[in-house]
Symmetry: C2
Subunit: 128 residues, 2 copies
DNA sequence: CAGAATCCAATACGATACTG
DNA sequence: CAGTATCGTATTGGATTCTG
């Protein structure tokens, strides 16, 4: 069970913090480096490069250098990368339905012992 | 999208390295601390405790101290925890079908530039 | 039995600056 | 444009030892 769960490839830990978002950005077709930086607004080029290289290594995406000066580079999902969309959708649906509950429970648990100004339960106010 | 992706609660990063395995261990019913240590053979009590506490905080499991000396403690999935089984099954199915492909690609990529004794592609031999 | 305490190593993530 | 280089910090996971 969970064969190969060596922490970078566990079913629930596919890659790092950005892998899932990158896959979604590539869902609609090839994107260039700078086109990925925009929607992932807080990512640094270094981390983006690292993540993309790791994904390329795992055959989830392909990296293509096109002709031109300066040479544009595009990233695209491989067939293997496309297969991740289904389980990701399942996880996404779960999050949409249950993540607020989880976060509320977390808030409630955290506020025990430090109620502060008694803001009450439900202080949660999801951040994107 | 991926609301609440603050790195501990992203759909593809539910908890730490062990959260998913613990959920599966609890799938068939309540388990005691020591009953969890066995199947998760390489976990240390410290990390197991940390993970269980985090899951309890997120209302994924309940912790029950029973009467007796020494007092047995059992952990059990909450209704919320049970809802994770479905997306986990999707991820698990993905892994069963595609993880070998991914790992083979990784091996192939890694062996480029350091073919060693030319073991060829497919040196993969999955470790559990 | 079910952990708590302490210490430590690896890694992930990020800020900043620079380049072919 | 699409990175690379360097540095620093925060978080994670683990080994070991001890206890009500």
């Amino acid at each position: 069970m969970f064969a190969g769960c060596s922490h970078t490839a566990s079913p629930f830990r596919i890659g790092g913090k950005w892998t899932a978002q990158i896959i979604r950005c590539l869902e609609a077709g090839p994107r260039r480096f700078s086109e990925l930086e925009i929607p992932l607004r807080s990512i640094t080029p270094k981390v983006l490069t690292e993540t993309l290289r790791a994904m390329e290594r795992d055959a989830l995406i392909t990296r293509t250098v096109h002709a031109g000066v300066p040479a544009p580079v595009t990233y695209e999902l491989t067939p293997l990368g496309l297969t991740l969309l289904a389980p990701m959708a399942a996880c996404c649906a779960w999050a949409a339905e249950h993540l607020p509950t989880l976060l509320d429970a977390r808030d409630a648990h955290d506020s025990v012992g430090s109620p502060g100004v008694d803001a009450g339960v439900g202080t949660h106010s999801a951040q994107s």
